[in-house]
Symmetry: C2
Subunit: 594 residues, 2 copies
């Protein structure tokens, strides 16, 4: 495993310059997020992730989780690292101070999340799921429920889960079979079996609070008949063991140190949270955050892979440069001299830094949606979030998977060998395009629900920003060509959307046929916008003789690379969108047979 170093220089470039976090926090009145606090979090967070979490990553993959008669043991060191994490106050960083949190903005929590995910994605699942459960209880719980659960969850004394999937349904939650029957004492008896429950059972906390989707006896069919329940492993009042048990854990391709559990609920005592039959809505309120978190796994693992790949490309000696020996004193040149190795490294760098910028851009919107006093500003942030969330989830995980595969390829045969750690990053990343709503589902959400469902309004909310940006920078001495390229794509984006929308009015299959390529097309344009924002700042720093000139030149070169070699992929995606649904649907299902 390559040693992980938090990419603080790139983080600071975005925080201090591109997205001006100090001004952003000041505008939202988030005074506790002072520049000193931000620096402390970056530096101390980096230290914790580099020194505590990263060394546990490879061993955790090799050891995996253990299951023995309902008891799950996490890999060696995981429990201790969790204790250190909660002891350091990291768990409550962005949590409500009313329950012991530090009340810092979500965006800072995400900055920390990136470092955690890069150093140990599996480990990060345990606090990650707990944060999800905390948000749900915070948003929908009664005062009593909050008092009962939130302090202990914030303190990390207890952890949480989200129990949605059943063996016969993942995407299609309308057909879940888990039942909740009202009891005399106001609680519910929850019975059913859930699968793929991350952190469903483990040894890192005293208690586990499950948030469970189930149906009431009289519930309407489909998604409108799903309710959400709190089902603790141990009852909060009596401490008695509840009727929920772990039946087994899955053997997976990756994130092996994250326990993925089958949970059997056998008349377990549960408490309704939020309104009856509105359980899915309760879940959806935290989807933006969870989906951004999943998208970030693409960034996190991509960053870890990039760090391994640049080190290896500088160390590994193999062949001579096509233009003549670059290290004649050595038996061969380091492979970073070869253009094709650079193509892979730059692709990794461009996607990672673009994804980090997208994360920070979106994280600021989360802050605004939570903290702004201005309802219009909040609404605008919500709209942009609704639009960007499926793109973050799917585009960042697709590109993350590409990045980790490049990183492995840079290592040649050694990339395939477990001890080098590069293949683990591919395996760990491979789940991200699948869970938290497959990327196909994200694409439908984007094109069907968000873009066409708003008659294009949510798209225009973003293209207007790009349009203004392009207008303001149309004459930029060094970057005007790229600004013009972005401007043209931005216009084309709207036209393409109109075309799909017209076709979809006649045939709803057109939405599904176009969706994934439309999402990828959109992602490339958004990255282009973010790359130009970064390039503008880098160029300004160079012009002013400020900052680290080498770093700024690296940004500009990567921006140029992105525009020349990655952005043209939009043309292939556009063609696929325009191809329509006939060439997908004309073949009867039977004809797929061998």
């Amino acid at each position: 495993m390559p040693a992980y170093k938090a990419p603080l220089r790139d983080m600071r470039f975005l925080i201090d310059h591109v997205f001006d976090f100090p001004a952003h926090y000041a505008a939202l009145g988030a005074t506790e997020a002072s520049p000193d606090m931000v620096s402390a979090i970056l530096e101390e967070g980096a230290r914790f992730c580099e020194n505590v979490l990263a060394p546990l990553n490879r061993p955790g993959d090799e050891e995996g989780c253990h299951f023995d008669n309902g008891v799950v043991t996490t890999p060696k060191g995981f429990k201790e690292a969790f204790a250190q994490y909660v002891g350091g106050g990291w768990h409550g960083l962005a949590a409500d101070p009313a329950y012991g949190g530090q009340g810092l903005p979500s965006s800072l929590g995400l900055v920390l999340s990136e470092m955690i995910g890069s150093s140990n994605t599996s480990w990060g699942m345990y606090p990650g799921l707990t944060h999800g459960a905390m948000s749900a209880i915070h948003a929908h719980g009664t005062a009593e429920q909050k008092d009962t659960y939130l302090s202990k969850l914030t303190a990390g004394q207890w952890t949480g889960t989200m129990c949605l999937t059943e063996a016969h349904c993942g995407t299609d939650l309308g057909i879940i079979k888990t039942r909740a029957v009202p009891q005399a004492n106001g609680s519910y008896a929850v019975t059913g079996s859930k699968i793929f429950i991350s952190a469903g059972e483990h040894d890192m906390s005293e208690n586990i609070i499950h948030l469970v989707l189930a149906k009431l006896p009289d519930a309407p069919a489909g998604t409108k008949g799903i309710s959400l329940f709190i089902v603790p492993k141990f009852l909060a009042d009596s401490g008695a063991r509840n009727g929920v048990s772990c039946g087994s854990i899955e053997h997976k391709m990756g994130i092996k140190a994250s326990a993925t559990c089958v949970l059997n609920f056998d008349g377990a005592e549960g408490y309704l949270i939020g309104e009856a039959n509105k359980g899915l809505n309760c879940m959806f309120t935290m989807m933006n955050h969870a989906r951004l978190g999943t998208g970030m796994q693409g960034l996190c693992l991509g960053e870890a892979s990039f760090q391994g790949a640049i080190k290896y490309a500088n160390d590994r000696l193999q062949m001579r440069a096509l233009t003549g020996a670059k290290a004649p004193e050595k038996p061969a040149d380091p492979i970073i001299v070869h253009p094709d190795v650079r193509r892979m490294l730059l692709t990794m760098k461009a996607f990672n830094e673009g994804n980090r910028a997208l994360t920070y851009f979106t994280a600021q919107l989360l802050d605004t949606a939570h903290l702004s006093d201005d309802p219009q500003q909040r609404q605008q942030a919500e709209d942009l979030l609704a639009f960007l969330t499926p793109i973050c989830k799917a585009f960042m995980t697709e590109t993350g998977l590409e990045v980790t595969n490049h990183g492995m390829q840079v290592f040649g045969g050694h990339g395939f060998i477990r001890e080098w750690g590069m293949e683990q990053l591919v395996r760990d990343c491979r789940i991200a395009p699948i869970y938290e709503g497959t990327n196909g589902i994200q694409a439908l959400d984007l094109l069907g629900r968000k873009v066409l469902g708003s008659q294009g309004k949510l798209l225009r909310g973003f293209t207007k920003i790009v349009h203004k940006f392009c207008a303001a920078n149309a004459e930029h001495p060094q970057l005007k060509a790229q600004v013009a390229q972005l401007n043209e794509l931005n216009q084309q984006w709207g036209e393409l959307t109109t075309k799909v929308g017209m076709a979809a009015m006649k045939n709803p299959d057109e939405v599904g046929a176009a969706a994934l390529d439309y999402l990828m097309y959109s992602g490339y344009i958004i990255h282009a916008y973010l790359w130009l924002r970064m390039a503008l700042v880098a160029q300004a720093q160079l012009d002013a003789g400020q900052g680290d000139a080498d770093y700024a030149r690296g940004k500009l070169a990567t921006c140029e690379f992105y525009f020349k070699r990655l952005l043209p992929r939009t043309s292939a995606h556009r063609a696929a969108v325009e191809a329509g649904s006939d060439c997908l649907m004309s073949l009867p299902a039977e004809m797929f047979a061998l």
Copy 2:
């Protein structure tokens, strides 16, 4: 693991119609490859692969190989399957009858190879490597060497390996350190350590014959000082154990049932094969075959993945079709109704069937190069092979990896779980873009050595075929639009090549910068040509009311899909080729640092 069924219908379509194997064999005088013989091989081969090899695939992955003090044990059943395979005469199918082989054309061996690779890629490595060793000895060994080794290798009593890579060099064989010192008896004492040796040690055969690259004491530096040696595990005459031992086996991402060995040669007795210092040339003579074999792993694993995915997509019920319920009697529709699932399935089908066509097209060239009496025809076949081989290796493995990833995605969360078998196909496939020369190296071979190195002659050898094909079918009633599209791309291909060639004359880095995208661009055009060849036959069958109409319509629909949704990727690759090397090379290596 989805049950494997050999895709005999598609194979027969290519063999009997598109590539007319009977006429091809007749023209080469390969009378032993009669239609009856071909049918027997297809049917019996399918039976063996489906019933014997496929059931060992998942358990083999879980169990892996065992290493104990130099002894390697393959997974349960592997040894017995090998005995059955050699007992059935499969091992010598395409081997020289002078040494007990059946002397059938290479193309038939490859047809069998596909079935083996789809049912159990790891297992297939053992006979696969042996075939490589046999070719080398056949092509370069003395009569005595052939007599000593070939019969037993053909009979599968012994197996073989290829020992090239060392810890510090894979691509760059010029810097190998293994030494061979001449001995008084005419043999050589071989000393050094080789890594990544597939089938380097195992329990499936009595003896293992290693083909080892090493340097003579007075050898010139670099690749011109490498010689090839036969180093048996047990000496052929005395049966004494030779000084070669397995130091360990690798823990890998995939192909876990294939033993990947560190081999330590400690003054082992070896025999020079071929001329001194010409070892690399000896290896290269079998590269075409080995690289095609590796390329086929993309097809094989892609086919296995497709079979799993179509079954699952027809069985799994989830959500309703966007156009209204298709299976109203069930709780949800099978997911094959969803356009995005079809996009994945059709992408898989299009790449697999295109790759199979490419394999058969290339396999016929191999036959012609080996068997034709006409030197001009042989040369033409050799030229086309030289051109197509790196494309087969790289394009088929890149697309194979994409295909296996789609197959896994179709399964949603279940795709990530080992017991379903879909993720194993991704892991097993992931090595194929790396070994047998990374795809980056293939791309350099294609663009630098083959295309530009021949002043475009090798490319023109292929584009002429396409040009003639397009001219002959320009007025085809149903397919003329696609023919025109192919014709335009075929012209553009030449122009793009000229452009890169001009740039490369000024700066050799232009070759490396363009190579991978140039290769992918070429692969898409070649697939387009092959898809049209298949579509023409399918359309003719439909018009004539011959053959299986559903199947023919499936071919035509998949061809349309390919042209509309996959072929446009050429535009992105072309743009990347045209981007040139500056945007790759301008960034100093230090600036990649964090």
